[in-house]
């Protein structure tokens, strides 16, 4: 009887709660409570005892020792932040460029797309990345000519750019990107997908109108395609930043502190500092970019 008295809107709202119930339970049990607990741990030292674990309040001692007496932490933190700042812009520019390329009509396009998304499948694991370095060392013997040619190439490129009056900083940056091309390609698979989906959603009438007005391809890219892509640049920026942090040294350091030396408190403090840095970078970069974002509504 009670069911009859509910309006459709109310029924919808209630079934919304039912639909989201697993999520709500999970959110509390596996996210919010652990988050609070982790913060408490970071302020204390933890011992495993017979029936569970005991905590002892230490205040900010963990945080202080992190920066004063820990040899590895500040170094790997700055290293991963610097890596992120260097890589993310390249990844975004590269994936936008590739998405524009793959969006054009040419023969074998579906094959090219399939190949470009292969890194999404293969390189998303830390292990695949981990092994590439040792593996490249192993093949330097058999494919040695390859690596040699590569070094020579970017050297020439650098000389060329320096001679054409480019600042050495920019020249170094670009040649560095060229040298790390595999790393960049393999970490921009999802971003290419997102950009490509965005390019498909731009209405053809916009392009038609600008063609009729006499715009060149170059102008169309900067005046039509690029502004329409800016919301996705924001999305991809956030994704790339999170992704670049998901596989780096600092994660291994945190895990090792927890499960090799069993210093849970210190490890929790590490992860909180790390989280705050990530959140700060995300906020800063989204604040910077979102002022330039253009919404077509």
């Amino acid at each position: 009887m009670r069911k009859k008295s509910l309006s459709l809107e109310q029924r919808k709202a209630w079934s919304g709660v039912v639909f989201a119930l697993p999520l709500i339970i999970g959110m509390i049990m596996l996210f919010l409570l652990p988050l609070i607990q982790s913060f408490r741990f970071s302020l204390s030292s933890i011992h495993i005892v017979e029936s569970g674990f005991a905590t002892e309040y230490k205040g900010f001692a963990n945080y202080i020792s992190l920066f004063t007496s820990n040899p590895d932490y500040p170094r790997s933190l700055t290293e991963s932040v610097v890596n992120m700042i260097v890589n993310v812009p390249i990844i975004i520019i590269f994936s936008l460029f590739v998405a524009v390329l793959l969006n054009q009509k040419f023969r074998g396009r579906s094959l090219a797309r399939a190949i470009f998304f292969l890194p999404v499948i293969l390189a998303s694991s830390a292990i695949a990345n981990l092994d590439i370095s040792s593996f490249v060392g192993g093949t330097a013997l058999s494919g040695g000519g390859e690596a040699g040619a590569n070094v020579l190439q970017s050297f020439e490129l650098k000389k060329m750019m320096l001679e054409s009056g480019m600042g050495p900083g920019i020249a170094n940056y670009i040649t560095g990107a060229v040298d790390r091309i595999y790393e960049i390609i393999s970490s921009s698979g999802v971003q290419i997908l997102i950009f490509l989906a965005g390019l498909q959603s731009i209405s053809p009438s916009l392009y038609e109108a600008s063609r009729i007005e006499g715009a060149t391809g170059y102008e169309i890219f900067w005046k039509v395609t690029f502004p329409m892509m800016t919301p996705l640049v924001l999305t991809n920026l956030v994704y790339s930043i999170i992704d670049s942090f998901s596989s780096n040294k600092i994660n291994t350091l945190i895990s090792q502190t927890a499960f090799k030396t069993f210093d849970f408190g210190l490890s929790a403090a590490m992860s909180w500092v790390y989280f705050i840095v990530v959140a700060f970078i995300l906020l800063l970069s989204t604040a910077l970019i979102s002022r330039k974002v253009f919404y077509y509504d």
Binding site: L101, L118, I132, F135, G143, Y182, F245, N251, W272
Partner: protein, 317 residues
């Protein structure tokens, strides 16, 4: 002279050679770029493949470039025994496929609730979902481990069994529980994808189904879900692949049960004393190839579907 000039300009007007030249240069540049990038992506894969079948003699033979001269399955055999490939593959497959399906259901339900069945606080909850994407998993690593190590579902287990807690480490339960509650690997992203997609489903479709007497749940699984195939395929593939490659949760929750990704990290020590580091890296490479092989085979079958569906997911919407 005049005639010739007129003819010339007519020819230029008709054929516009400058335009054509520009077009063709662009086509050539584009083709070169695409070929180059494809080469960079495929090169390591082919190299791995070629190295995997080489015998020890071939490593130091500079004349062997691609085709191994002494073709051998020994590397493969050693790698298979060192990683206990059979059982590890089975475990990985079990974990990946079950979590994928459970996650799909949980995330689709939650995504539909966020898109169409708004309730009080659903905005806040969605904000929290986005927040889970941002928080590094390491931040809640230890409490999560302890939650499963001393598991007691808000005290319910103590009530029924009398034991204070259950140890769920080294079972599949942590994966099942976290994917069932949409808190597994990158599930925030999947919820986001589903929400974006379901928002694009026309209201009229649902209303028609309500008018015809279907309930909300029936509308969801008979009308909305069959229309959401692109989103489902994307989430299926992503979650399967990421779970397969994941080493973080697996090493957190499983220490005795072996799966491919943890086996691979331990493979170096499992090989025993190998005096030749180059040969050892060759064996490791074979191991990586063994781990990737099922994914590549899977990708060969679903790739066309995947590439098409991602474009239609409304990921961007």
């Amino acid at each position: 002279m005049k005639l010739q000039a007129a003819r010339m300009s007519e020819w230029i007007g008709r054929k516009s050679p400058a335009e054509k030249a520009k077009l063709w240069t662009w086509i050539i540049v584009r083709t070169l770029l695409i070929l180059g990038f494809c080469y960079i992506i495929l090169f390591p894969l082919f190299l791995r493949l070629s190295v995997a079948f080489r015998s020890k003699v071939d490593i130091y033979d500079p004349t062997v470039l691609w085709i191994p001269r002494h073709f051998t399955f020994d590397n493969l055999k050693i790698a298979i025994t060192a990683t206990k490939y059979g059982s590890a593959l089975l475990n990985t497959f079990l974990i990946s496929s079950t979590t994928t399906i459970i996650q799909l259901v949980a995330c689709a339900l939650a995504g539909y609730a966020f898109a169409k069945l708004k309730f009080k606080g659903s905005g806040l909850l969605f904000g929290l979902v986005i927040f889970t994407i941002v928080v590094p998993p390491q931040t809640i690593m230890i409490p999560l481990y302890l939650t499963y190590r001393y598991f007691d579902l808000f005290g319910a287990i103590k009530l029924f069994t009398g034991k204070s807690s259950v140890n769920l480490i080294d079972t599949f339960w942590p994966f099942l529980i976290s994917s069932g509650t949409a808190m597994g690997l990158k599930n925030g992203l999947y919820i986001y994808i589903f929400r974006q997609f379901f928002r694009g489903v026309p209201k009229e479709l649902e209303e028609a189904s309500f008018v015809d007497g279907a309930g909300i749940f029936k509308t969801f699984y008979r009308i909305v879900l069959p229309n959401a195939v692109p989103a489902i395929v994307t989430v299926l593939l992503f979650s399967f692949v990421w779970q397969w490659n994941d080493s973080y949760y697996v090493s957190l929750f499983l220490s005795k049960v072996k799966v491919l990704s943890t086996q691979l990290t331990d493979m170096g020590s499992a090989l025993g004393v190998e005096p030749d580091p180059v040969y050892q890296s060759m064996l490791l490479n074979t191991g990586v190839l063994l781990m990737m092989a099922p994914l590549i085979i899977l990708y060969l079958f679903v790739q066309r579907y995947f590439v098409e569906s991602v474009e239609r997911t409304g990921l961007v919407g």
